[in-house]
Symmetry: C3
Subunit: 347 residues, 3 copies
């Protein structure tokens, strides 16, 4: 990207104040901007960040007075203008053309839909069915009898073990593993004997799963992720879990086996949820919480062991005051001793 501030001003119908020849080589948020970047101030409340930004060009609201060393471009709605700008200068998205790369290995009994794209070194096993327009990324592995819906997008190095089911428009990022064996053993005479894991994984429509996330197959039956749910990177979901619809599951979350998550649940980063629990609809589990009991619908949970958010705040405030509380207790103790000494002895 090689534009001038004047080019940018023209693209967003803005009014330029400063050097029109200022070179713009990138776009970035205010805080992460480097020299040569154009950025924007979405709202006056972020104004403090203008002082420390390294951006060279700043798109701001028409009426805003601001102290900024670089070039300003004034527009009516900075967020909208910046989004429009991103749309215009963003590099063309990569498109994986339909067709089967000759290095891919496709079992004779696999059935490919119309206009699918099978990238180099992909491996597709016997009995697989792939929906129309799906993309199978480079080196990805599609295990036996798996069924993928239409318009699925699998990036490089995805692994689907046998009999995985994907709905339509499922996006799997690099390194996702669906259907590895659940972590189940029986202790027989001090040795951990494997419990066969003969179930599978079923993913609903419009689900997106982040890089290197692993979802285990069911012991029997399925491990399920509902329609519209979005899962971040490096998440671990145990066997026979059921994740509801339209949930958000953030990075490094671990959910142990057979736990049921409702619909519209938000699970923040690094949360752990024990096995065989139920988390009700629309609950929010805050970052790093450790859930050890069922969570009623609509709860906001925090802490390890997790408690309702308000309770956590109340207890945590008391905890932070503990050292001064101990000091006060010590003082009371002395006052009491002194007072008792002054009482006439019991006769």
């Amino acid at each position: 990207m090689q534009l001038t501030a004047r080019d940018i001003a023209r693209m967003v119908d803005g009014e330029l104040a400063g050097d029109p020849e200022q070179l713009v080589t990138g776009l970035a948020g205010l805080r992460e901007a480097a020299q040569g970047d154009a950025s924007f101030l979405a709202s006056p409340k972020y104004q403090a960040a203008v002082k420390t930004t390294h951006a060279s060009v700043l798109i701001i609201a028409r009426d805003l007075e601001i102290d900024f060393g670089g070039t300003l471009i004034r527009v009516k709605d900075p967020s909208e203008a910046f989004a429009r700008l991103v749309g215009q200068v963003a590099p063309r998205p990569v498109v994986f053309r339909p067709g089967v790369h000759p290095s891919a290995v496709i079992a004779p009994t696999a059935r490919l839909g119309a206009e699918v794209s099978i990238q180099p070194h992909a491996v597709i096993e016997d009995g697989v069915v792939i929906g129309d327009r799906a993309v199978i990324g480079a080196g990805s592995y599609i295990g036996h009898e798996s069924r993928l819906g239409a318009d699925c997008l699998l990036y490089a190095h995805v692994s689907l073990r046998e009999r995985t089911i994907l709905g339509d428009r499922v996006t799997l990022h690099c390194g996702v593993v669906l259907g590895a064996d659940g972590f189940g053993y029986e202790n027989v005479g001090g040795k951990h004997q494997k419990i066969p894991q003969v179930g599978n994984v079923e993913i609903g429509d419009d689900v997106e799963i982040g890089a290197n996330t692993a979802i285990d197959r069911g012991r029997f039956g399925r491990t399920r992720v509902g329609t519209g749910t979005k899962i971040d990177n490096l998440v671990q979901i145990g066997h026979n879990c059921v994740i509801g619809e339209h949930c958000i599951v953030c990075g490094l979350v671990g959910i142990a086996g057979s736990t049921i998550i409702g619909n519209y649940v938000t699970i923040a980063g690094q949360v752990g949820i024990a096995g065989h629990l139920t988390v009700g609809d629309k609950s929010i589990i805050m970052a790093q919480a450790g859930v050890t009991k069922d969570v009623p619908a609509g709860s906001v949970m925090l802490g390890a062991p997790a408690v309702p958010h308000k309770e956590f705040k109340r207890v945590n405030a008391a905890i932070q005051r503990l050292p001064e509380t101990l000091a006060k207790l010590h003082e009371l103790e002395q006052q009491l001793a002194e007072a008792r000494a002054r009482l006439t002895p019991v006769s």
Copy 2:
């Protein structure tokens, strides 16, 4: 799977009550069951789950009276009957036939045992030795001079760096990385200078390692995992760790370098263990604990920093009572002030 309740009853020698034509399309635990599933009630103590299950058919004990809207099948031992049923209806396990796929790249000095199966796009480097009947999954990479025992099963996309040693019957799930460099640097004038990592990873017999787990090679010497130990998904084990025999290590656990774990140790999900520690035999480290000191054999540890389980419970109970404790302290303070005011002044 397309069976009727009558078919199921016949397969488990059960007594049917309800609709014999009820269609059964899957098997699942009570809580995760969907409509059309058959499930089972292992023990009367889970009876409450019957009210909310979506299962259409339920296998229960002969003598149990229960309120269930679907079809019942009564047997002597529901757990045993269900396991038998799973065994009968489970899809045939996938078998990787012996032979070398033509797309695999195998160094001329590698030695393959009898009846090994080398899947498409696998890469096997110089000096590798692979035991009889081992399976090397699609796209897996076996680094130079690695030695794999008999009957190892490596799924797709496993990476073994050079000189990794696997015992017999080792199972590695998709995306496992063994033998990446340990995380060791020396700070030289403000820069982190890499400490060479010239050791390797050695895995005992009958070990199973979950998807996307990473175990680093030793700085020198080995990082070791003992016979019979089972490791879940997304676990990180640092260089020169020694994990004992018959341990259980759950998902998202991190163990820093040079820590020694005894035998029969259980490490629950998301636990972190600092480096250069020793965890004694048969200890249990509970979920999300942060271990910062040596752990004596037989301990049950919880919390961050981790303390013995009983201590944690005692302290946590006191913590949860903190807000009311502060209120009581405030009350005492007032009572004391009032009492002191009533004492005759010191003359």
Copy 3:
């Protein structure tokens, strides 16, 4: 490795006491050593570990008296002697020779530098530029228009999505994913609608990134990692984060989107850092901390929510004393009640 204690003594110019024919089959630290290993005692302060080591041969300082059942080798500086020994007996490092393996798939518009090594089944997309002497590991995927500097070393199964930029001498371990889409959605009528992620990932010189770590591409602009920073295994870094120069980021850390980390920052294992925060230069975030606010430069933070280290220690000491504090409070309460009873009633 098959040496005798006598061989070892000769290699380190040491003085042997014990069995010169003792076989040495490996090298290891004191605590992780197994039978047949040679080890060393770096300092008398680790002397206690000698009692429990399984090493057969021990390199120690000339003047140290020690109780050890195996063979001793006395030298002036045991650490230096051991390092020298490691250097001599370490297996030859694996070298990936320049050249392009015929199974690699390289787009016609990709440009390869001098002496690059492209390993089997690697895939290199259109418009990629690879610097001199770089190594692209087996099965690795280099997305469209990515640019790699000189002397980069990518191990097997690395995935770089389109337009990733690597500096010189970048090392990426197996399973690293750079440039997967950031985790960004807008809630539109209860559904999570994807926000396009059109930025990229830029990595500075001399960066090393551990196995299965994932760094997401910017929403727009870049996610950046500065020169000299070292990142461990299974780390998750969100979109538009900026990690400074010469930082250390340990295993299983999660950093949410748009957070800015300064230079020379150390982030210990399993730390979580919320999004849109700033962590100042030379800060240390201790293991498992949960950072929820900006961190001033030079801070040492601990706990969840994270507080300065000293405050954490003070509060935690008070917490551990809570049960006895409650007992004391109860005692004071009784004493006070008794004292008040003895006061003459208010007339």
